[in-house]
């Protein structure tokens, strides 16, 4: 069972190399990538990471899902750019905001989304739980993560079943129903889901208590080593990060704050020039 895609598996050989990698390597790569994306301001470097991470996601064979997500990203960016132009009519400093500046947050989201989806969609829950055990995380972290991983697929399945049950009762679940009857549609969705989530939480707590999870002496673990494919992927990913940081290109600040800052700098430069 896969974490976010229910019980469906992709049997294509091409898609399996990501799934075969050690979960610890994938999570660590995602962590270092996220950290880099906070500070990296070079659009060329960000685009480089975006392309590489797209290859990883592409290898899973979820082309339709990729298309929808990229389309959403583009639409959101276009919306943001339109708003920037609109605001520029009323706030003069916004005229300084370049397309590259509005693009930067989306260039950051692109590799992050790719990698997060790659990790979650290529992860078998059972292996993820075992890997979490091997990571020797404190119980405070391990237990909630284990619970979330174990029950996310079940919860997604419940949502699908709820949709089916509503269809059987002749209640359509679409955007027009949400707009025309917002209260009714939300109640139909939310009430069973909350009840189910509460019951699931109770069942889980009871199952865990009966197994004495979180009590007693705790788990004794055997050491497991990385394989060469894991090490190669990790080294490759870290090298890609180094390249992204050192690739030639300009540093672009993003957001309205940067426009105001740019305006201040321009003013200061012109003032000093006049003096």
């Amino acid at each position: 069972m896969l974490a976010l895609s229910g019980a469906k598996t992709n049997n294509k050989r091409f898609s399996q190399w990501m799934g075969n990698l050690d979960i610890r390597v994938k999570v660590l790569t995602l962590f270092f990538l996220s950290l880099s994306l906070i500070f990296l301001k070079n659009p060329v470097g960000l685009a480089f990471l975006g392309v590489l991470s797209t290859v990883c996601l592409f290898s899973l064979g979820k082309y339709r899902m990729m298309m929808i997500i990229y389309l959403l990203l583009i639409v959101t960016w276009a919306f943001s750019q339109s708003l920037t132009w609109l605001l520029a009519l009323f706030i003069p400093t916004m005229k300084e905001q370049t397309i590259a500046q509005t693009l930067i947050p989306f260039l950051r989201m692109w590799p992050l989304l790719n990698m997060a989806l790659t990790v979650s969609l290529s992860m078998e829950i059972g292996n993820a739980l075992l890997a979490l055990k091997k990571m020797r995380l404190p119980r405070l972290i391990y237990l909630p993560v284990m619970v979330a991983l174990r029950f996310i697929p079940g919860f997604i399945n419940d949502i699908k079943q709820l949709r089916d049950c509503l269809l059987i009762r002749g209640i359509p679940l679409n955007i027009s129903a949400l707009i025309l009857h917002p209260n009714r549609t939300l109640r139909l969705l939310i009430v069973p889901m909350i009840i189910r989530a509460l019951r699931l939480a109770d069942e889980l707590a009871i199952a865990a208590e009966l197994k004495r999870v979180g009590y007693g002496q705790g788990v004794m673990l055997e050491k497991t080593n990385f394989r060469w494919a894991d090490s190669t992927f990790f080294v490759g990913a870290m090298l890609a990060l180094v390249v992204a940081w050192n690739i030639p290109g300009s540093i672009v600040e993003s957001g309205m704050h940067s426009s105001i800052k740019n305006q201040d700098q321009l003013q200061r430069t012109s003032e000093s020039g006049q003096q």
Binding site: C165, K211, R212, Q217, V219, M220
Partner: protein, 463 residues
């Protein structure tokens, strides 16, 4: 082994007592059956013995209770978890892992056992329950019987003194039930105390030493298994005899009659899995009640989903009364009741729920009469989600019937229902068929099949 004296209990915010003055003595090595009508207090008594009351269900508890030699007032819930093993009706509820091997090891790992100690504890149990070939399997791919074996193995690995089973055969086919009985018999011979809470009685004849019959929160009768037969009618119990199918198999001629639902050369399989139906033809004749049988995982529920348009076939047609119908049309003209009743109830009261199920919104129905028919009188204003499992199941079926469907399919409609309620569901199903609907029941329950079905349709391994 279990000693309850003058136990009374009421759930939080409830004025009526769920258990009243319960006295119960169970000796070591005994196999005990606790039975009674739906809502009589069986589950509450079970929760008391395995310690969930008062740890998880606080409420008001009085009386003395000794379980496996320990006084519940002086010991915590965790002291009990090693002594009482509980097998739930749906074993999936008690799984914490995703693979068989990991699930079996989890509880022992958390007790600090080394890998070698775990192997030596588990190996004999794995062998006893025949799970050797399943260790690497995902828990989600197992049949219901296999899931139950895995849950049982993980309990037995902890060497409990008492084994409690809650409606263990509710989702099992006949073969799996037989296999469970054989396992329980050998555990009893090894000296384990077994307490079973169940409506289905026939399979327990050779196992149990004594029964306790509950009624309205008290133990009203007790005795040996043979005494149960004379109490059946009075207390609405299920049959004590194994029901042999007396209903004929559905023939191709009956399937191809012009009225009803028909699958023509249907092919379907879930992504990445072998096809469930390959050029499959068959149907549900109009005005008849058909029992759809077959092993767990054969595709019975999938066939129901295909009928209602919830799954799209790879190829083939589905027709209703001789005309090919789109998925949307089939959904509008049919009703399907699935097993997950919690997800099928949305409104704020039972009355609203029933009214919302009527296909013509302006048409008012007689709520009181409907509830009376489904033995739910007085529950008009209750929130549907606050009802018991059996009551929810009856309400969902009642809602499905309000639509006056042309095709009605019920998936395991009697799991957790007592004899009276099973008969009542049977009567409603027959009435629907007489009205002209094509009715199908997906069930392993031979008693129900004999009670109300015209034909049995067994889905074979290769179609």
């Amino acid at each position: 082994m279990i000693n309850l004296e003058n136990i009374s209990y009421s759930y939080p915010f409830q004025s009526t007592k769920a258990l009243t003055n319960i006295n119960l003595q169970i000796k070591k090595g005994e196999a005990i059956l606790v039975t009674g009508r739906s809502g009589c207090g069986k589950s509450t008594l079970g929760r008391l013995i395995n310690g969930l009351i008062p740890t998880y269900f606080a409420g008001s508890l009085s009386g003395d209770m000794h379980i496996a030699g320990i006084d519940r007032k002086r010991h915590s819930f965790h002291d009990l978890t090693g002594l009482v093993g509980s097998l739930f009706q749906d074993p999936e509820q008690q799984f914490l892992s995703t693979t068989v091997d990991d699930e079996l090891r989890t509880a022992l790992e958390w007790r600090g056992y080394s890998s070698r100690q775990i192997d030596s504890a588990l190996n004999p149990i794995i062998e006893q329950l025949g799970l050797q070939n399943k260790l690497g399997s995902s828990l989600f791919t197992l049949s219901e019987g296999e899931k139950q074996k895995v849950a049982l193995a993980s309990i037995l690995a902890l060497k409990p003194q008492i084994l409690m089973l809650d409606e263990p055969t509710a989702n099992l086919d006949i073969d799996s039930t037989r296999e469970l009985l054989s396992i329980l018999t050998s555990l009893k011979q090894e000296g384990m105390t077994i307490v079973i809470f169940d409506h289905r009685l026939y399979w327990l004849r050779a196992l149990i030493d004594k029964f306790y019959l509950m009624d309205d929160g008290t133990i009203s009768e007790s005795g040996s298994f043979s005494d149960l037969e004379q109490l059946r009618t009075k207390f609405g119990l299920r049959s004590t005899q194994q029901a042999h199918l007396s209903v004929p198999q559905l023939t191709i001629g009956q399937m191809t009659q012009p009225g009803g639902l028909y699958f023509d050369a249907l092919s379907f399989g879930y992504s990445g899995q072998p096809p469930l139906f390959n050029n499959f033809s068959g149907g549900l004749p109009q005005g008849k009640v058909i029992a759809i049988c077959g092993q767990n995982g054969r595709g019975k529920t999938t066939l129901a989903r295909l009928s209602m348009g919830l799954e799209k076939p790879i190829s083939g047609n589905i027709s209703l009364h001789g005309a090919i119908q789109s998925a949307k049309n089939r959904l509008q003209r049919g009703s399907l009741v699935l097993q997950n009743t919690e997800l099928q109830l949305y409104m704020r009261s039972v009355t609203e729920e029933l009214q919302s199920a009527v296909s013509e919104p302006d048409k008012k129905i007689n709520i009181n009469a409907t509830l009376e028919q489904f033995r739910m009188a007085g529950l008009q204003d209750r929130h549907p989600q606050s009802l018991s499992g059996g009551q929810r199941q009856r309400l969902v079926i009642a809602c499905a019937l309000q639509k006056k469907p042309e095709v009605l399919i019920l998936d395991e409609p009697t799991s957790g229902l007592d004899g009276h309620n099973m008969e009542m569901i049977g009567q409603h199903v027959r009435a629907e068929a007489e009205r002209g609907a094509a009715v199908a029941l997906i069930t392993h329950d031979h008693e129900l099949i004999n009670n109300c079905c015209d034909y049995v349709w067994t889905l074979q391994e290769e179609v």
